[in-house]
Structures are given as structure tokens and as C-alpha cells.
């Protein structure tokens, strides 16, 4: 934000640097269940962003003092690979990734039915392989698909999307240059079923009406992303849907030695 530059972010036709209209998303692709050892996982490509999310648990929470006797805790680690940005990113947690980890775990805690698994921990790992603005939204979107893939009980998926302001115009889903040289960036996450907001941040300055417009844009786009998430999960379990599952009724049935 705030950096001055003479790049024209919007051309005379009203199109952006990558040819998108102001209310257009970058292409999104999600694949569920990509990791074998994780309980659940998802790989997501959002424009030039590439993000991998893995979920483990519910499992025993360590260290013990983190355990909550009434509910599970959701622990998240957002991490950027050293090669994810053009200048090498110094590995390890920094101010930014600690913050993002915190807000993502808090957003997810809102939908996961933590009360079912007291004293346990649900661990979410988000690895950013390639970054091009909007990785926190990409990470959160992937993490919620991974959680569903892991069979974790949750009230709904979480969808995240950003909107912002460039050249005094409110636009959806900022790209790298727009993020760097634009005026504001507003990432948000919602629970699509209820429209509840579970994450809202703002970098830069917006007028009240601009903020509302940005939020509305991002929320509408979230519904599109929600469909992509559901589609990814359906594709992963497609075979199951057609199958006759008689055996599941005998879940209580027991083998005799």
C-alpha cells in the first residue's frame, strides 16, 4: 500500500493490468485430498498464488496446558516458502505470518464444532508455495476445504475473498501490483450459509461507502468461490456418491474372533 508509482493500474477502457474488469476474480482452481499422510488436505491455485493446506486431527493437544476441557482448539500455521516471493523470504515465523495464523485459526474456530472434541487440537498447516497478493484469503479458503476433507464436523465451509481500491475505484481481488501500488486492500471471510463475517481487515484508507461497496463485492464473489470449494470436494468423493452403501448400516456390527 501507499507506494507511489507511475504504473497505470486501470486503462482507458476500465480494464486492469491483467485485463480483468473491476468486479472480476482471478481464476481459481481447488483440488481436495492431495496429501496421503494428512487427515485432510487441499491444493489451491488462485491467479498466480499456489497454496497447500493440510489438516491433522482432532488429536491430543500438546503441550497439555493448551488443552481446553470444554472444547477442541484450532491451531493454524501459515507459512510462506522462502521461494514464494521474488526476493527470498527469510524462513520462519515473522510478525506477518504469526498474525495471519492467528486470524485464520480464529476464523475457522467459528465453524468447526469444537465442542465435540474436548481437550483435543485440530491442526491446520498452510504452506504458501507461490505468492501473488491475497494469500491469506487463498490460505483460508484452502484450509476450509482441507478441514471438510478431513471429516472434521463443521457448521459450514469458510470462504475468503478480498476487495480494495486502486486509482480511486473499488475493485475485487487485488493482484500483486494493485496491492503494492493501490490505495486499500480489504480481505474478508464469511460463512456462506449465514453470511456471518469471520474475518475482516483493512490495509489503507477507504471512505465509509467505499468500504461497504468493497465488502459487498467481496461477499458476492465469495459465493462464487464457495461453489468452487464444493465442486472440489464433490469431485474428490464423486465415486462414493453413486455407490450403494449397504455396509454402512451395519456399522455397529462386530467381528467375531
Amino acid at each position: 500500500m501507499g507506494m507511489k508509482s507511475d504504473i497505470k493500474l486501470i486503462d482507458k477502457k476500465g480494464l486492469r493490468l491483467d485485463g480483468r474488469k473491476p468486479d472480476e476474480l482471478r481464476p481459481i482452481k481447488i483440488e481436495a485430498g492431495v496429501l496421503k499422510r494428512a487427515d485432510g488436505s487441499a491444493y489451491l491455485e488462485w491467479g498466480k498464488n499456489k497454496v497447500l493446506a493440510a489438516v491433522y486431527g482432532p488429536r491430543e493437544a500438546h503441550p497439555r496446558h493448551l488443552q481446553d476441557s470444554s472444547k477442541a482448539i484450532v491451531q493454524c500455521r501459515y507459512n510462506m516458502a522462502p521461494f514464494s516471493v521474488s526476493d527470498r523470504k527469510r524462513p520462519g515465523p515473522d510478525r506477518r505470518s504469526v498474525e495471519i495464523s492467528k486470524i485464520i485459526s480464529e476464523a475457522l474456530e467459528n465453524v468447526v464444532m469444537t465442542e465435540l472434541f474436548p481437550r483435543s487440537s485440530i491442526d491446520v498447516f498452510i504452506e504458501v508455495l507461490e505468492a501473488n497478493a491475497g494469500t491469506r484469503c487463498a490460505g483460508l479458503t484452502a484450509a476450509s476445504v482441507a478441514l471438510a476433507d478431513a471429516g472434521v464436523p463443521m457448521r459450514d465451509l469458510v470462504v475468503a475473498c478480498a476487495a480494495g481500491k486502486i486509482e480511486d475505484t473499488v475493485v475485487l481481488d487485488l493482484g500483486k501490483e494493485e496491492d503494492n501500488f493501490g490505495q486499500a486492500d480489504v480481505p474478508l471471510a464469511i460463512v456462506p450459509r449465514t453470511g456471518e463475517l469471520v474475518l475482516l481487515q483493512m490495509d489503507g484508507d477507504l471512505k465509509q461507502e467505499e468500504l461497504f461497496k468493497a465488502m459487498e463485492m467481496a461477499m458476492n464473489a465469495s459465493m462464487q468461490i464457495y461453489e468452487i470449494q464444493k465442486d472440489a470436494l464433490r469431485r474428490r468423493y464423486a465415486v462414493v456418491a453413486e455407490e450403494e452403501k449397504d455396509e454402512i448400516d451395519s456399522a455397529q456390527e462386530e467381528a467375531k474372533t
Partner: protein, 231 residues
């Protein structure tokens, strides 16, 4: 949803999707809000009696009272053992709950760290403190044999309807097989039999999502046991 009462065709549902609005009761894997029932888990929708259920396709084993599970001893204390039952919660096994008379501090003489046991979930409280017991017919220390793990949600597939799959396995491999509800399977028999049983179970695990699984496995077992006999 466009489905009527007894659901014969199984339908995949995702968390947050509406599973019923017709006034059925929320069963497992669902939650109700303002009279509408939603899926709480990714799974297969099922309607039985007045309940809508969502049977999970994935997920960890959560202990339930009465389940028979295969545990591994992880710690031997003075008057109890700690058993790993493949769930988020380790389960203590008290010396009063074993069929032997154990003197105080003498626990390792009966069960050592690493031993496997067949135990019953004897109690789960609201904070998910689990207790296990060995005081019932058939519960014992498992010696010999092999143990393999599959996701707990696929246990019903290995057992099959009315035990059809498990009987098939026993018949063709000549092994003794026990399937714990926590997804651990104990197999004992001759080397070839065990190897075949493990391959068959791996196949069930991988192809748990295909149609006519029991027939497929029967075919596989018949072909393979024929091969073994010939060699």
C-alpha cells in the same frame, strides 16, 4: 433436497448443506437450526426411522461406550496402563479392569509398553475421559499375528453387511481376524494367509468407494488363494 423417505440411493453431502426441511429429527453428523437440518460433516446422507444421519467418509475414531478396540500399551504406571486406542484421547486401563491380580507396581509383568490388547470402551464422560476394560469374555492380550490400520470410518466396509466381508476374508485366508472399531485390524494365521489378508484389506481400503465391493474382493481372494495353493 429432492429425496423422499427411505433413502435407497446414497447422496453425498457437504458441511453446511441442508439435509432436511420436512421435520425429521437430526441424527448423527447433523445439526439443526431454526427447524432446518444441516450436514455437519462430509458424508453420505441416510434417513432411517425419523432421523436424518450423515455417515462420515473420513475422520478420526471417537471412542464410544461398548466399542471393542485394539489398543497399544504406551505407558505402564504403578496401578494402571495407558493405552493408545488410535483416537485423540489416550485411555487408562486400571489394574482392577484386567482379569489378573496385579500387585501394586508390578504392572509391566503383565503388559509391557508396546504390547497390543483387545479392550472394551468402559466409559466416556463429557470431557472425553475414556476408560477401557479387559474384564469381559474374549478380551485379552493379543500375542502373535499382525496389526494393520485403516481409517475408522471404513471399518463397516471391512466387516460387510451382516459380517459378509469379514467371513469371506476368514474363509479364504484361513486366518483369525479381528476388526477393532478404531480401525486397527489384528490378523493371525500362516504367513501366506496373513499376506493375502493384508492385501485384501488394503484393497478394500483403497476401493472402499466402488460398487459391488464384496463380489470384487471375493473374486480377488479366489484368484489369489488359488495361486498360493498352486505354488
Amino acid at each position: 433436497m429432492n429425496e423422499e423417505k427411505p433413502s435407497v440411493k446414497r447422496e453425498l453431502v457437504l458441511p453446511g448443506e441442508v439435509v432436511d426441511t420436512t421435520g425429521l429429527r437430526p441424527g448423527v453428523g447433523t445439526y439443526a437450526e431454526n427447524g432446518t437440518i444441516y450436514a455437519a460433516q462430509l458424508g453420505i446422507k441416510n434417513i432411517s426411522k425419523n432421523y436424518v444421519n450423515v455417515f462420515p467418509l473420513n475422520g478420526r475414531y471417537i471412542p464410544r461406550y461398548g466399542d471393542k478396540v485394539i489398543g497399544i500399551i504406551t505407558e505402564a504406571g504403578a496401578s494402571s496402563w495407558l493405552v493408545d486406542i488410535n483416537s485423540p484421547y489416550p485411555a487408562p486401563l486400571h489394574v482392577n479392569d484386567v482379569p489378573w491380580k496385579v500387585e501394586f507396581g508390578n504392572t509391566p509383568a503383565y503388559l509391557k509398553v508396546g504390547d497390543t490388547v483387545l479392550v472394551k470402551i468402559d466409559g466416556v464422560d463429557e470431557a472425553k475421559h475414556v476408560r477401557v476394560s479387559m474384564k469381559e469374555q474374549g478380551l485379552r492380550k493379543l500375542s502373535g499375528g499382525n496389526i494393520i490400520e485403516i481409517p475408522a470410518s471404513k471399518v463397516p466396509r471391512v466387516i460387510g453387511k451382516g459380517g459378509s466381508m469379514i467371513n469371506l476374508l476368514k474363509e479364504h485366508t484361513g486366518c483369525r481376524v479381528f476388526v477393532g472399531q478404531n480401525g486397527r485390524i489384528w490378523i493371525d494365521g500362516d504367513v501366506d494367509g496373513i499376506a493375502l489378508a493384508i492385501r485384501a484389506i488394503k484393497k478394500i481400503d483403497e476401493e472402499a468407494q466402488t460398487i459391488g465391493l464384496t463380489d470384487k474382493i471375493r473374486e480377488f481372494l479366489e484368484k489369489e488363494s488359488e495361486n498360493i495353493r498352486r505354488n
